[in-house]
């Protein structure tokens, strides 16, 4: 099997990896913000329930959560909810990352000094305006470094989707190993991850630089 043939197959596998990554990110970031607000709610039952849920998700392995999402609905209701393994993996990833992001967002929101909210209040701004026009950008600046960390971890975590037989780049390399007895494609996958993470790192560095004009 030639280098170019392997590359083409790995690129196809990486398509699944990238799709899982992008969809997880797009869905878990806003969901994380919602979970963060729920965990700071003044309605105690909602706050406690959310915090317990986040604790469970952060306290158990992602691999276990993948199994739970895929198998438990079938075991409980005797129906296959997720015939699409990719969808099951996506849901598990979104829930897991939304919980991690929620903790980061909560920290970011709480790190904005109370005086910023009060200044908006005294100036007659609505709560919505205070959040979107005053607080949000400061929160973004606070959370960028930890979010960048989580996002890099997500790229690598996508390989866990293989436990549900989602054919990602590593699975493709493993298939080549089994079928053609070629081990190098397995190591070659590292280059794909490195380049992808390199691009993400550059994007986050640019974003941090863009927000460096003010101090919080």
């Amino acid at each position: 099997m030639s280098f170019s043939e392997v590359t083409i197959q790995l690129v196809q596998g990486f398509g699944t990896t990238a799709l899982l990554f992008v969809l997880t990110l797009v869905l878990s970031l806003p969901l994380g913000l919602v979970v963060a607000f729920m965990s700071m709610s003044k309605f105690t039952p909602l706050k406690v329930l959310t915090r317990v849920f986040v604790w469970i998700i952060r306290g158990t392995p992602l691999m276990l959560q993948l199994f739970v999402v895929f198998y438990v609905p079938g075991l409980l209701f005797r129906v296959t909810i997720f015939s699409d393994r990719f969808l099951a993996a996506l849901i598990a990833f979104v829930i897991n990352y939304a919980c991690y992001f929620s903790v980061i967002f909560k920290g970011g929101i709480e790190s904005v000094p109370r005086g910023q909210y009060e200044a908006g209040q005294v100036l007659g701004m609505s709560k919505k305006d205070v959040f979107f026009k005053v607080v949000l950008l400061q929160v973004v600046k606070h959370v960028l470094p930890p979010v960048s960390n989580e996002v890099t971890t997500l790229v690598k975590d996508t390989s866990l989707a293989r436990v549900l037989l989602v054919v990602d780049i590593l699975q493709v390399a493993e298939n080549i190993l089994t079928a053609k007895a070629l081990v190098w494609p397995l190591f070659y996958t590292g280059a794909f991850y490195l380049i992808f993470i390199g691009i993400i790192t550059v994007i986050f560095n640019l974003a941090e630089k863009k927000l460096s004009y003010f101090k919080v």
Partner: protein, 233 residues
């Protein structure tokens, strides 16, 4: 005639009765200073007046509007909304919005205020928001600082931006919380001049600096044991 009148204002935090019945009144164009030892409730009183804290009972009358804190929450909230913006506050540490320039810090509340007026079907203010923001900042001697961010300004300049932001909405009462605490002594006189130059609004200043209070006060009240009493400086 009293423009701002406070009657029987009480505020507790748990078992700690900070304000035990505060009464005073203030006319437009006059400056009231609140002095007293730390922890005696000066800042709490200021926070109650600016409605950052809701008093437990008592009334605050501003012009024609009276907020009776003994009434139900809905009624209090609607009256608070009516007078919010008419009572400005310059915070001790200014609380400028760090992501905005000096100009934008003044412009943002003006724009939002204008949007609110539009929603209510009220006519726009005479001058554009941009020219008004610029005019106020230039009036404070910040002509060449308009495009600088708060972190690029000195303490005194930040304070002038904070004052500009507070007066942009044309409040009828302007409060200052410890205006000289974050400044070096040389700037105190400058702040006193600035406060004395504010015309046609009632000014309330919380300070522990008696010599500063002397420079700006028409009336001085000492906050002690949760009540206020007049003092001569």
């Amino acid at each position: 005639m009293a423009y701002l009148e406070v009657k029987g204002l009480k505020k507790s935090f748990g078992n700690n009765r900070v304000l035990r019945g505060v009464d005073f009144f203030l006319e437009r164009g006059r400056t009231l200073t609140l002095v007293g030892a730390s922890g005696n409730g000066k800042t709490t009183l200021l926070r109650c007046l600016t409605l950052l804290e809701t008093p437990d009972s008592g009334t605050v009358t501003l012009g024609e509007t009276t907020v009776n804190f003994g009434e139900d929450k809905k009624s209090i909230d609607s009256k608070i909304n009516a007078i919010r913006g008419k009572i400005g506050l310059v915070f001790q540490n200014f609380n400028l919005f760090p992501q905005y320039t000096a100009f934008e810090n003044v412009l943002l509340p003006l724009k939002l205020y204008e949007n609110e007026r539009r929603k209510k079907g009220l006519p726009p203010l005479n001058t554009s928001d941009e020219s008004r923001a610029k005019e106020i900042l230039c009036g404070m001697g910040l002509n060449d600082k308009l495009d600088l961010y708060p972190c690029q300004l000195s303490g005194g300049q930040q304070q002038r931006v904070a004052i500009s932001r507070a007066i942009a909405l044309e409040p009828t009462v302007l409060c200052f919380d410890e205006p000289t605490s974050a400044l070096d002594p040389a700037l105190s006189d400058e702040v006193a001049k600035l406060i004395n130059s504010l015309k046609n609004i009632a000014v309330i200043v919380v300070t522990h600096d008696l010599s500063f209070a002397k420079k700006i006060s028409d009336i001085t009240l000492e906050v002690s044991d949760g009540v206020v009493k007049p003092v001569q400086l």
